[in-house]
């Protein structure tokens, strides 16, 4: 008992300061891409280097789909014109799919919530059932950390529940493997409606690295309409937490 108390004092109070203070992200973190079509020479090098076909257009319409992008940075590295750079903008989550596409010269502002019903039900308390459906498990792991004392999402009323019966929201990771299709549908149906959906990670949004899989869908959109899209492979915990808080109109 005393040992535990001593250890508790030694370990100290360690919950992070986010969202009161801005997050500390590593200097090599790649956030929302910043594009400058005026520099683009239309050579297509970025498109060829991209492992996931996320450079949707080059030339004057230069655009990157962050719903597909795994933020490897290779497009920026091969671009001799420096038309592509990555900002530290971690607020990548959005409520509409179209806003995930980064355009040249945009002034990016993450979307504000508009769903009144959601806000009425969930702005103070959001109970989440997570369903993984064919990813690589990194998305699950970095969602899980939001429950540790470093992030303590319980402070905001966000909690993981064991059964979809208790859930306001289904958070899906993975591209939806064929083998999880039935379980995902059943899980969704089992939740008391209305129920909201979060697509967490590039896989869940677009199939990501598995977009051409013969054994998986290309993300959850084919089955469920997401209310929040969280880009990243996997999304940084800050990106996910910020997205959920914004959806709840908490900041």
């Amino acid at each position: 008992m005393f040992k535990a108390l001593k250890a508790r004092l030694f370990q100290g109070y360690r919950t992070g300061k986010f969202p009161v203070q801005p997050p500390t992200l590593p200097d090599r973190f790649n956030g929302r891409p910043v594009l400058d079509a005026s520099k683009c020479a239309d050579c297509g090098a970025c498109k060829a280097a991209c492992p996931v076909d996320a450079v949707v257009a080059v030339g004057k319409d230069l655009a990157i789909d962050t719903g597909k992008c795994i933020f490897c940075g290779d497009c920026a590295a091969v671009c001799k014109q420096q038309a592509i750079t990555f900002s530290p903008e971690y607020r990548l989550a959005n409520m509409t799919r179209a806003n995930l596409i980064a355009h040249s010269g945009e002034i990016y502002e993450p979307e504000r919530p508009t769903d009144r019903e959601f806000l009425r039900f969930c702005s103070k308390s959001l109970k989440i059932r997570q369903i993984s459906a064919g990813g690589c498990a990194a998305c699950e792991l970095d969602f899980n950390v939001l429950g540790t004392l470093a992030w303590d999402m319980g402070r905001f009323g966000i909690q993981v529940v064991a059964s979809p019966r208790h859930a306001d929201c289904i958070l899906v990771t993975g591209p939806v493997s064929k083998n999880m299709l039935l379980a995902l549908k059943k899980g969704y149906e089992a939740a008391p409606h209305p129920v909201w959906v979060i697509a967490c990670g590039t896989c869940a949004i677009s199939g990501g690295i598995y977009q051409d899989s013969p054994e998986a869908m290309g993300g959850i959109e084919e089955i469920l309409k997401p209310d929040l899209y969280v880009p990243g492979c996997p999304p940084h915990p800050t990106t996910l937490l910020e997205g959920m808080l914004r959806l709840m109109n908490r900041k």
Partner: protein, 502 residues
Amino acid sequence: MDLFYKLSNGTSAALSLIPVLEEQIFRSSVIETVNAGSRIESLFAMPEGENFRIFAILLNPKEHVLLITSMETAGTYQSLTPALPAAHLFEREMAEQYGIVPEGHPNLKAVRFHESYAGKAPWTNEKAPEIGMIDFITMRGEAAHEVAVGPIHAGVIEPGHFRFQCMGEDVYSLEISLGYQHRGIEKMMEGKVSPRTIRMAETAAGDSSIAEATACAAILEALDETVPSAKARRIRAIALELERIANHVGDLGALAGDVAFLPTASFCGRIRGEYLNMTAELCGNRFGRNLVVPGGVKFDLEPARAEKILKWIDRVYPELKNALDLMFDCPTVLDRFENTGAVRRELAKDLGLVGMAGRASGLLIDTRYDLPLNDDPRPKRISLKHCTGEVMARAHVRYREIVTSHEFIIRMLQEELQGEIRSEYNGKIPADKIAVSVVESWRGELCHAVITGTEGTFRRYKITDASFHNWTGLAMALRGEQISNFPICNKSFNLSYCGHDL
């Protein structure tokens, strides 16, 4: 003709050099070699005209070399499993992928429930079987009952199905049926090699990204005849050990949580994140994504960055030790860990357990020593004292590895190293080659093997994650246990679903 072709780790050879043996000779030489102390790294099939060619890749730890051989079959052969239980899942996999029937296999069932790539799997009349529909091993009797768990679990974890046969609280048998995470990675890796290749291999098991990416890079480098610089290899080695520490810390915390020892559970939950953040300091991603590239690494470890991580470890390591010592000092925790979920040495050997779980059962195996990739730097070997195969042993092996990995990282960060981080890589994929690489991920050895087709293409890409070897170990650990001990047994292994399902 030799029975096996000897290949060093991370090298390639012409496919024509791999012996094609008569079935009986293949069978006896594989069995004898394994009985003489080698182990199965991978066993897989590839279509060859109308027929199939079955490859066996064994690891000879004494000679530090891979032994490769093969045989041809028209579709049935005598199962190796009765003589070599460690082959059982590989044979099921070949049956599922290509409809090759291992005659006399005691438990021939679906592994991942996908459509067969050629012909049809021997257990189905339909093309695609329904997920989870197998004849589970059952127990009959008045007091016997069955507990079914999954695919969706109560926590935030991957999907899988567990079927327990119980009498009261006692588990007589556990059968684990996976495949829910199957996304067809091996199939997608076939064909033209592209920038997607290594990034996809990296996601075979997301918590072992560094290990998976290193294995894939080693193959690409072997085919291209590129050797990454000493500095690049060192950065990979540091990242690999950071990955090991982060996962061990997370699992030890989760073990504490499962026996309701909350202080260590919460401390470790936070401390694991510190190690993930150190990895992100290296490359921007907490799982080390995009760090490893063919030819080396994408990001340099400058002296200032090394210094920063050293200071970081200086601060966190005492906190970690404090959290772990607290748990390993607590009688109520030890009471739950000791004598729970035992997999004894002989059984572990027969099942072919690898890595941390194998070591915890007393097997002196570790590919960082048995089959080093290049002359990569590596931590000290841990002692196998008291490694008798229980949850306690697995927990303690993890603690020991945390210590040796720390010593290693600190030593590596203190020595400055000059040189390039990325050697020139031309992406050459010569035709008709075989290349194999083995890396010791935090769970254990994982093996990537490739057979190239025409120039620039992969004809077959085979991934064997450590979990593939070890899932049966978990099922056996539960025999004779109370069902309430499942969570800690499970956590002590913490196997990958996606690494198994691919």
